[in-house]
Amino acid sequence: MQFGIFSVSDVTPDPTTGRTPTEAERIKAMVAIALKAEEVGLDVFATGEHHNPPFVMSSPTTYLGYIAAKTSTLQLSTATTLITTNDPVKIAEDYALLQHLADGRVDLMMGRGNTGPVYPWFGQDIRTGIELAVENYALLRRLWREDVVDWEGRFRTPLQGFTATPRPLDGVPPFVWHGSIRSPQIAEQAAYYGDGFFSNHIFWPKEHTQKMVEFYRRRFEHYGHGSADQAIVGLGGQVFMRRNSQDAVKEFRPYFDVAPVYGHGPSLEEFTSETPLTVGSPQQVIERTLGFRDYVGDYQRQLFLIDHAGLPLKTVLEQLDLLGEEVVPVLRKEFAALKPAHVPDAPTHASLVAARRAAPQAAVQAGTEVQAR
């Protein structure tokens, strides 16, 4: 099982000091956080993509390329890549190049984006968000799998004799997850292709995540990719830890109370009971996280949100120390002991290359079938 962190890249004032970091400070903090993630033994760092203040991450491949050069084992991912408003041709090119530079440590999570004005700023319409995600992703898959593409669709100018360069590393496209908070159509898309499905698991109650994941698993099996419990599931999560749980609550509360998404609303205690947010000791985080398996089954990737709402860099790095030293080693061992042998790990570039070598004929046939669609 993979463990990591994901960032939304928000520039938010620290409510305890009133100070807002500069964009430069926040960008460099995100670098420090990703490097620290590898240093403490986490597997994955994923960055969001935003095209409006107060967020800094407009260009994930620029950032991830820099991180790739500074790390050696960290899996680099996105949370999410905007499949609606980005040109799928640029996604195909940018991430294929990044995959070469990162020696196969890249995967992506597709998302639609929920900031209304971003759609018109990029020439699109939020009301066609699902249709954009479906058409653009279908094109992206072809660009990575077919050397020469003739294509015509509804949202983008047609392509005749187009080759996306560079071709994917080892001829194997990056693994793709699909993230959605509330749209079953996106879980259906993930299931149709046998891709991973990632549930945000931060802003909504667990019952909602459970329904989405159950639906994805059932449809994954329906489309013949394996049994429902072999579908590739990732979860978000949100934690704040101190060794003494009362210290964690006391320190996090001023950040929680005015946080951009849920601030000025429910109390920390109410939100902790209604959603997967855990504020407490490392042991409490371990127990809560192990409990996620009770309602989504054995899953492949757990990402925590730890660097938002104005928390200072020093505090975030301390959170990473606790995750790396006390939480993840226990979770790794406990989850591994519980997982049946037939449940796969999350695909990586290495595993996808190995799978293709093991079954070259099947891969070619599957590719042909995809083209025919």
């Binding site: 699902i130 249709e131 479906v134 058409e135 279908a138 669709g153 509804r154 079953p184 159509q185 259906e188 898309q189 149709y192 802003f203 909504w204 109650p205 909602h208 329904k211 989405m212 159950e214 639906f215 059932r218 449809r219 329906h222 998404v261 849920y262 601030g263 000025h264 609303g265 429910p266 109410e270 939100f271 209604e274 669609r373």
Partner: protein, 204 residues
């Protein structure tokens, strides 16, 4: 004739305790239960007092999801066969609490649902708020509003005749709408999709 059953949800946005809005809601409910009984239908009534969900509703506006308590209330309303919705009139319209409850429901959740609208205020000069504020709200939600909406000013609780007749007429209209419609079977977004993914891919 076999006995049919229907669920009747009642939303009352009164703030006082006791509340004249709830009093009107109770009168409309009793009359509707009786009208349904006359049509061979046994009604199960579930009342949602929005005052009890005032903080839940503010939280939902900010977090984007209903907490467990509000979720139960919303499910009661969206899973019902008919709805009685009663609000006090504040500043020439429905109360903010009343509107907020309908703001946080899914926009399709009341589609086709029979609704009886009621309102209360200190004077009869507010009565047309039912027609210029509540009726467009339920039209937007594509609910089926009964032709008669019932307004009760303070003076109506003393004067004989008019209010009782309006309640009886409106209850009969709601009962007719509910009797003429099969029991609610709300769509589950997690059912297997009716549009195949191949159709989505084909742009249909």
């Amino acid at each position: 004739m076999s006995t049919q059953t229907r669920t009747l949800a009642v939303v009352s946005a009164g703030l006082g305790t006791p509340s004249s809005t709830r009093l009107l809601a109770d009168r409309l409910t009793a009359a509707t239960v009786e009208a349904l009984r006359e049509r061979g239908i046994t009604a199960t009534v579930e009342v949602v007092e929005l005052r009890q969900h005032a903080r839940d509703l503010a939280d939902n506006l900010l977090t984007g999801f209903p907490n467990a308590s509000l979720r139960d209330a919303a499910d009661t309303v969206t899973g019902s066969d008919g709805l009685i919705a009663v609000t006090p009139i504040f500043s020439a319209s429905f109360s903010g609490l009343f509107k907020t409850f309908f703001d946080v429901l899914d926009k399709d959740a009341l589609s086709g649902r029979p609704v009886l609208m009621g309102a209360t205020a200190g004077t009869a000069r507010h009565s047309l708020a039912l027609e210029h504020a509540l009726r467009p709200l339920f039209a937007y939600l594509r609910a089926v509003a009964a032709p008669t909406a019932v307004f009760a000013a303070s003076e109506d609780w003393a004067r004989g005749g008019g209010l009782h007749d309006r309640i009886t007429r409106a209850a009969g209209e709601l009962a007719d709408l509910m009797a003429g419609r099969p029991p609610a079977a709300p769509a589950d977004p997690f059912d297997d999709p009716t549009t195949s993914f191949e159709e989505l891919l084909g742009g249909r």
